[in-house]
Amino acid sequence: MELKSLYREIVNEHNLHPTHKKDLASPTMVLEGVNPSCGDDINLQLQIKDGVIEDAAFNGSGCAISQASADIMCDQIIGMSKDQALRQAQSFMGMIKGTATKEQIESLDEAASLQDISHMPARVKCAVLGWRTMSEMIGKLNEEGVTDGSASASGQDTCGACATNSAAVCKPGCRQCPV
């Protein structure tokens, strides 16, 4: 898809009129996701009960692709179990890296329309920001063996290098890389 059509058909709507860009009344888990190299910054909020994502929202600022991708993601993961959401994130990362199967891409539904971002290395980190942040939150929950999202989550950071190029090797300490 040509870039302008991608913006026109998918990104602009979610960027200018996001459904889930707001604060949740009672999130059980909140995490800041940052792309330091471009200043994308989202505050992802999940409300998880008995292992199910009951509600999801985000706030913050960033480019249209990061905002739209986070909005599409929130739309999709509401109602999913945390493991389903994690699988969805893996499919999305796989799509961006070019390793996802046809079935995985189909399962991504509207998010699959961001597939062309995989040809724009500089914008990959924008598209995956929300998904990486969500994966880390659920990773923390699973680590701590709780189901209600009461696990603690602190700020996070990317190593910067990894996200611009899906083949890049991360620096030690980077916990967010799609690779």
């Binding site: 870039l3 302008k4 913006y7 602009n12 200018l16 200043g39």
Partner: protein, 401 residues
């Protein structure tokens, strides 16, 4: 096609507008021809061999040093050290001069508009020696007021490091005034010339620079070659930065004595063909001539800033006077993130930079998280400026506003 663009193969047979010249510039055939001639006619390891090719390689390399010395007004050729780029030049000074000469109680003064390559080396020196890092602040117009530098540069200041031209605002700092004041206080002055050398004549002695760093690729030379000028008295007293081949006088099992400058600072096999390319780029600049270069850039920058001022959604940062921008115009479009601006303009075959421009402290100082930047060079044209501004005027529409 404009008269200069014919010399640049990359501009042939396409409609790409290259407005990212502050990041790197394009290379004319003259530069590539010079490098090809080196490779095809006398490629050998300079400074070592006793045969014809190596002798000629050495001559080519040392001729390039002479060209650079003349270009920036160094008194002697040996005051020019070839490096990879501005960053390496500044690191050489930080590791060699900085770590040796600075201690707790000393101060390093740098400006808030420095590129990260003129910030991080001094943070390192500060951490390791205990010397304090002090920032000279500029106004929203990019100007560092006299009260600012006369208050912050004191008898404790041992080093003042500043860009001659800011890579974000394009403003030219009053280097000579600041250097005179710093010298009176006994400080050494390092000038980052990465953004000035492509756009204006430089004379390190008239500037009052004790060290001066610049990159070849920003003035149409190849990537991977840059230079450091150092006053001979300082260079002679400094320890080597890197050690190894070709920088020695003699080596025993447990000790070594070092070669004189500049070889003392050029360990290992040097980038001779890069140096030859840099010299060819300097010759090309001279052939075009500073008057034509500066006039063209001034005309284009006035036109660009004048046309952008007609667009209410565009904010331009820095000085309102286009003649103080050195071809660098940093801006934002209301409601559109600079990365989206750059991606959208890319689909119009227009290359600009977006982000923090390796100057995060300045971005914070200006109160913006990121910006778009168009940076011009003399080979750009009025038609390109007009097409660029037309595209900028359509960005909000493409973004769904």
């Amino acid at each position: 096609m404009a008269r200069f663009q014919e010399d640049f193969p990359i501009f042939r047979d396409n409609d790409v507008i290259y407005f990212d010249n502050a990041a790197t510039t394009q290379r004319p055939v003259q530069v590539m021809d010079a490098m090809r001639a080196f490779n095809d006619e006398c490629n050998a390891n300079p400074l070592r061999g006793l045969y014809d090719w190596s002798v000629r390689a050495t001559e080519a390399y040392e001729d390039a040093r002479h060209t650079v010395a003349q270009f920036i007004g160094a008194e002697r050729d040996c005051e020019i050290i070839f490096t990879r780029n501005t960053t390496e030049s500044i690191n050489l000074v930080a590791y060699s001069w900085g770590l040796t000469n600075l201690k707790e109680g000393d101060e390093i003064a740098i400006t808030v508009m420095e590129h990260h390559s003129d910030i991080l080396p001094w943070q390192m020196v500060s951490r390791q020696t205990g010397a304090k890092l002090v920032y000279l602040e500029c106004g929203q117009d990019g100007v560092i007021p006299k009260e600012e530098y006369t208050a912050k540069i004191t008898e404790h200041t041992r080093l003042v490091a500043l860009a001659e031209v800011s890579n974000v605002l394009g403003i030219t700092n009053p280097v000579r005034e600041i250097a005179d004041f710093a010298h009176d206080k006994g400080a050494v002055v390092l000038v980052d010339g990465a953004q000035s050398t492509p756009h204006m004549p430089v004379n390190v002695r008239e500037l009052g620079a004790d060290f001066f760093a610049f990159s070849g690729h920003k003035l149409m030379g190849p990537m991977g070659i840059g230079a450091l000028y150092g006053r001979i008295g300082l260079l002679n007293e400094m320890p080597p930065f890197l050690t190894g081949g070709e920088m020695i006088e003699s080596v025993d099992r447990y000790s070594a004595t070092f070669a004189p400058v500049p070889e003392k600072f050029e360990a290992g096999t040097v980038n001779a063909s890069g140096a030859v390319g840099l010299a060819a780029a300097i010759e090309y600049l001279k052939k075009v001539g500073w008057d034509d270069i500066m006039n063209q850039e001034r005309m284009l920058t006035r036109r660009l800033m004048g046309e952008l001022a007609e667009l209410p959604e565009v904010t331009v940062y820095g000085n309102p006077d286009p003649d103080r921008h050195c071809g660098i115009v940093t801006f934002n479009i209301e409601g559109v993130h600079p990365h989206d601006v750059a991606s959208i303009l890319d689909s119009e075959h227009i290359c600009i930079r977006a982000g923090h421009h390796c100057a995060q402290p300045l971005m914070k100082h200006l109160g913006v998280s990121s910006t778009a930047r168009a940076s011009l060079y003399f080979y750009n044209t009025e038609e390109e400026v007009d097409r660029f501004v037309r595209a900028v005027g359509k960005v909000r529409g493409w973004m769904g506003y």
